[in-house]
């Protein structure tokens, strides 16, 4: 559907596919080459990149939220249904699948997390299945649902992204939630003082107070970076993988308008990339889950006291 007659150019097509349906507080002014006029500052749906930039922080990606929460609801309803049906008797195929996933996650958590915390395993399950579902949207042909959204809304420039994990807000939000839980559990386990000690008396420690005073800021700086790198790497790893995958799907989709031969080639490429992506989306969900478990285990580990007391 790209680069044809008065349709969008390839660049416009790609950009359109990478823009979220944004609803936010738009300051008064004229935007989008004069086609959109905002008379008073207020909440509205963005019509172009310029408006999205003008909204800044005070906006929300409606499509990301809809798909993410929708898929999350699908996940909890499916698993809740399975939980209500779960008995010690013979499971049916659906229950068996759910139980297989649960057992797999239970085993992974047991292997990586040796402490007692009833929140870790359910969190790992939520992360794995939810992210898998969100990533799975990547396998749907890129134009199907956005075109449907255009039809339903009647606006030919309606922005609609269906893969929430290609939105850094979504992935970073999960990364930072894990991060804050990690800090919380760390403080719960070691006490506020223990946590402070951990981030200020590491990795350099002399044992003499007049030397330590100079080492504390350096330690704090290094440890803060180590800590902050975790949620950011969690979020950006998932985002980067899915964004790149989505971009390649979109690029392949532009081939369909470039003639029969290239179109067929595009079809083959899309199929191949989708097959490869089945692996990627599962792996990314798994990596996010395993790293979360590892970080949680780290948060629960109490260092040997003698390192700080002598």
């Amino acid at each position: 559907m790209a680069a044809e007659g008065n349709g969008p150019t390839t660049v416009e097509y790609i950009q359109h596919h990478l823009t979220n349906w944004t609803y936010g507080k738009l300051p008064a002014g004229t935007y989008c080459d004069g086609t959109s006029v905002q008379e008073t500052t207020g909440w509205t749906t963005a019509h172009c990149q310029e408006e999205i930039e003008a909204m800044g922080m005070m906006s929300i990606h409606v499509d990301s939220m809809l798909w993410s929460i929708g898929l999350g609801v699908v996940f909890v309803l499916l698993f809740r249904w399975a939980a209500s049906k779960a008995t010690s008797g013979i499971p049916n195929r659906f229950l068996g699948t759910v139980e297989m996933i649960i057992e797999f996650i239970d085993k992974t958590v047991r292997d990586g997390f040796k402490h007692r915390n009833p929140m870790i395993a359910p969190m790992a399950l939520t992360i794995f299945v939810w992210i898998f579902f969100m990533n799975l949207m990547d396998l749907l042909p890129v134009d199907w649902i956005p075109e449907l959204a255009v039809l339903v809304s009647g606006d030919p420039h309606f922005y609609f992204k269906i893969v929430p994990t290609t939105d850094p807000n979504i992935t970073l939000a999960m990364g930072f939630t894990v991060f804050f839980l990690m800090i919380g559990f760390s403080i719960m386990k070691k006490g506020a003082l223990g946590f402070l000690k951990e981030i200020t008396l590491h990795p350099f420690h002399s044992g003499k107070w007049y030397v330590d005073i100079f080492l504390v800021p350096i330690n704090f700086f290094l440890e803060s970076i180590t800590l902050l790198a975790r949620p950011i790497s969690l979020g950006l790893r998932l985002f980067g993988n899915l964004y790149a995958g989505e971009l390649i799907f979109i690029l392949i989709a532009t081939m369909y308008s470039a003639g029969l031969i290239i179109g067929i080639l595009g079809g083959v490429l899309q199929w191949g990339w989708a097959v490869f992506h089945i692996l990627v989306i599962t792996l990314q969900a798994f990596v996010f889950m395993v790293l979360t478990i590892v970080y949680m285990a780290m948060a629960h580990e109490v260092e040997e006291e003698d390192q700080f007391t002598h």
Partner: protein
């Protein structure tokens, strides 16, 4: 990369789903799995025990069978012995009975012979007297000759 309120919305949604999972999804499924594991373990144990019991019962059955066979063999032997004994006894009895009957018959025969002889003797005496009367054609003194005839008859 537009960082905006979506970040906060997603965080809230994430926490909500984790809590929901922790309350309503994870515990029942894990409990059911643990229960099934226990059930299977119990079942396997029971099966093992049943197998052992079966083995034991088989032994018992074969023992009882052997005992029963021995007893029945003994019984048959006893019965055979008894039967032989009965046949023996019956034979003995039959022989005794036959002997008894033979003796009775012989006694009766002897008695009847005696009686017939007595009768014959009487008849012969009468016949001899009648014959003698005819031969002599004379009246004979019954008294004088009667003694003679009686002597004659006694000699028969």
């Amino acid at each position: 990369m537009n960082i905006n309120l979506t970040l906060i919305g997603q965080s809230i949604a994430f926490i909500f789903f984790v809590l929901f999972c922790m309350k309503f999804v994870w515990p029942p499924i894990v409990a059911a799995l643990a229960e099934r594991e226990k059930k299977i373990a119990d079942g396997l144990l029971a099966a093992e025990r049943a197998e052992k019991d079966l083995e034991l019962a088989k032994h018992k059955v074969s023992d009882q069978l052997r005992e029963a066979k021995e007893e029945s063999a003994k019984l048959i032997e006893q019965a055979n012995k008894r039967a032989q004994q009965i046949v023996e006894e019956a034979k003995q009895k039959a022989i005794e009975e036959a002997d008894r009957q033979k003796a009775a018959a012989e006694a009766e025969i002897a008695q009847q012979m005696n009686r017939a002889r007595e009768e014959l003797r009487g008849k012969v005496a009468t016949l001899a007297i009648a014959g003698a009367e005819r031969i002599l054609q004379s009246s004979v003194d019954q008294q004088a000759h009667g003694k003679l005839v009686d002597d004659l008859a006694a000699q028969l």
